[in-house]
Amino acid sequence: MRTYEFDILCIGSGVSGLMASIAASEEHKDICIVSKDPFSWGNTRISGGVIASNQDSSLDIDILNAGRRLNSSELVETLLNDSENIHETVESWGHIYRRNGNKKIKIKPGGHSEARTYISSYKGISLGNVLRMRLLEETNVKIIEETIVCKILTHDSRVYGAICYNWIKDTWYIIYAKQIILATGGGGMLYDPHTDNMRSSTGDSYSLALQCGASLIDMEQIQFIPFGVAYPQGMTGLEIGDTAAAGPYGKLITEDGKLILGNIPSLTREEVSRKIALAMSRGSTELKDNVKLDPTANINKQDGKEAWVNTNNSGSLEAVKYAYGVKSYKWEEPFSVIPTVHYIMGGVLVDQQGCTEVDGLLVAGEAAGGVHGSGRLGSMSLFEGLVFGRKVGKIAAEQIDKTKDNPFPIKESDLIINEYKKTISNGKGSNSPFLLKKKLAEVMWKDVGLIKTEKSLLRAMEQIKKIEKLSKELFVNWKKSEQRQLILNTIELKMMVTTSKAIIVSSLIRRESRGSHYRLDYPSENNSEDYNVKVDLKDGEVQAKKYDKSIS
């Protein structure tokens, strides 16, 4: 056990955590950045394009369109206003966007009304490396990697630190800090293997926030990217692409060649994913049939061929080649596709400064909710992470100057950790967290996935509660170092249970279909009423209610 003390603790080292830490270190604060992954790993590493800033109002309109009026217009406005010079800044640190001559190349991902995505020199890897390099220049930053934050500590609704477990070193820490930035990303693994997210995306953000008194918003809005790999085992769920990846002439067909959908690139991710789900389920909630993407008509047309080159350059056809073979890769034959969880639009409720209802807790990146409403356009989140990361880092630094020293509660650090361990497992059981995680993800995919009904959601809640009960009797021995990954997964499982409940209760409240949320029992959008769904943890229960921003 070790303890540390800093001004600011930043949790997560994807684009938003790195940007926040850079901004705060530029203000000469003492910072500690902790990540469950190796330093500067996260979904950021495996992503791609970034939206260009300084847009005219058309971007604003596109964002609100995709979000079907659930977006927080204030947050969208802040995002666009604060994006000034963001790309110049990261390029001045050594990042490179691809160019044609002197002009940055722009492409048009699905759902956008015009071409406005910049392409990094080499995907998220290049962005991650540049931000890593930039942060390592700063001497006032402590880096703690391969360490999971298990719980954020509060006193009188104000943060003062976090309980952490370094799963490589098999060591516990308490990190005391006056301001905490939550930049822990999304939660695709709640639907494993039906996700293209990193293993570490277990939705910790949402559970950490709830548990320390913050609220969540729009948690029923889970984005499925329409084209994911269906098989072989181990590749299910990997991203093939969004609607642009069909090429201008691609169409969706049934197993026996019947047309399901054409004109795909003009549609949003939400629309196409829903269409595939309905075709697969034939009107029930159970996914039975196989749907194929038939891109073959592209290869006889000039713009179709160009689309292949663009898709190939983005790298996502490689998964097609490895899964289905060269003919599918070259768009010479149709291949199976299945929507896959890509992004969680919902997240922690924040104001325009990234602050939450909990004093000293700020949030940035995929962890936060509000910007995307019920549908997210491609290339938006790296942009969001860059802009809000920088902003939140600055605000946290300013808060340090404003707040007087806050004395940390004097409870013994060992005691805090032991109390926490007791809430995780009694250490006497025989259940494996790996199996329970798998079970949880099966429930989420089957009953809280592409197609939901009241019945499926209630069934899911019952199942999740069973899993929660079993998870109290896990096979965990805190004293054996060979259990490091078991301990890590046990901590994650506990958070996944809470986040799953938040998604289920939100989905129950929204008795309509909107954006990424599709209810078979309420299949249309209720145009007469726009509201968000807010989730809180009260007396140990995850509760949801309608939330009208204009009133609060």
């Binding site: 495996i46 390099m133 490689e318």
Partner: protein, 213 residues
């Protein structure tokens, strides 16, 4: 039904041996990573494995398969495969090797560039595009017999030479190449046999030769 045997070199506080596991592939193709995950899920919850993206983007799943460095997520599981942790890097547990020293080395060796003044060109060369692909997977440290972890502050190893090359071929970054090459012990690699990279980074050609005069 099709059952294959996977032999895993295990190392924990208590075990230090090759253990054979039977994996049911249901007659389908399966990635090696998936087979290892299945073992962890169903048979041996303490089996240590590391991965992230499941398809070669994150660089976290490198292991040795029948003696050669491979990414487990893009290797098909085959009967009687021998899976071992990478060589030359300290083992944490089973197939998991250390990584956090990489961050520390970048800082300690000051592998941090400055940005050239003025409106430098932003045209990227083929060489830059070849070295920027490095995922820090550590396979090159494992396959090079010259690398030794204990001596890493005298002889940093190919992964770090590639970091230097990323600065060298970058149109706007700069660093004192001579001094850093010296610090990294690049000269030790003057006659190194070709070092393979799962990501196709031409390590000898672009990350060693240019710095040896």
């Amino acid at each position: 039904m099709c059952v294959i045997r996977i032999n895993v070199k295990r190392k924990t506080d208590e075990i230090n041996e090759v253990v054979t596991y039977l994996v049911n592939t249901f007659e389908e193709r399966m990635t090696l990573l998936e087979a290892l995950k299945k073992i962890q899920e169903k048979q041996e919850p303490t089996l240590g494995i590391r991965y992230g993206c499941r398809f070669k983007d994150c660089g976290l799943c490198a292991v040795k398969v029948n003696g050669k460095e491979k990414m487990a997520c893009v290797t098909n599981a085959k009967n009687e495969m021998l899976v071992e942790p990478l060589d030359h890097v300290p083992i944490v547990q089973d197939l998991i090797v250390e990584r956090s020293y990489i961050t520390k080395m970048i800082r300690d060796l000051e592998l941090i560039p400055t940005v050239k003044e003025g409106e430098a060109s932003i045209l990227v060369s083929d060489e830059y595009m070849a070295v920027v692909k490095c995922t820090d997977c550590q396979a090159c440290l494992s396959s090079s017999d010259i690398y030794s972890h204990e001596n890493r502050y005298q002889n940093a190893g190919p992964l770090f030479f590639v970091k230097l090359a990323q600065i060298y071929y970058h149109p706007r970054l700069d660093i004192n190449y001579k001094e850093i090459a010296q610090k990294l012990g690049l000269h030790e690699y003057k006659n190194s046999p070709t070092i393979p990279c799962p990501y196709g980074v031409p390590i000898n050609k672009l990350a060693i030769s240019p710095f040896i005069d």
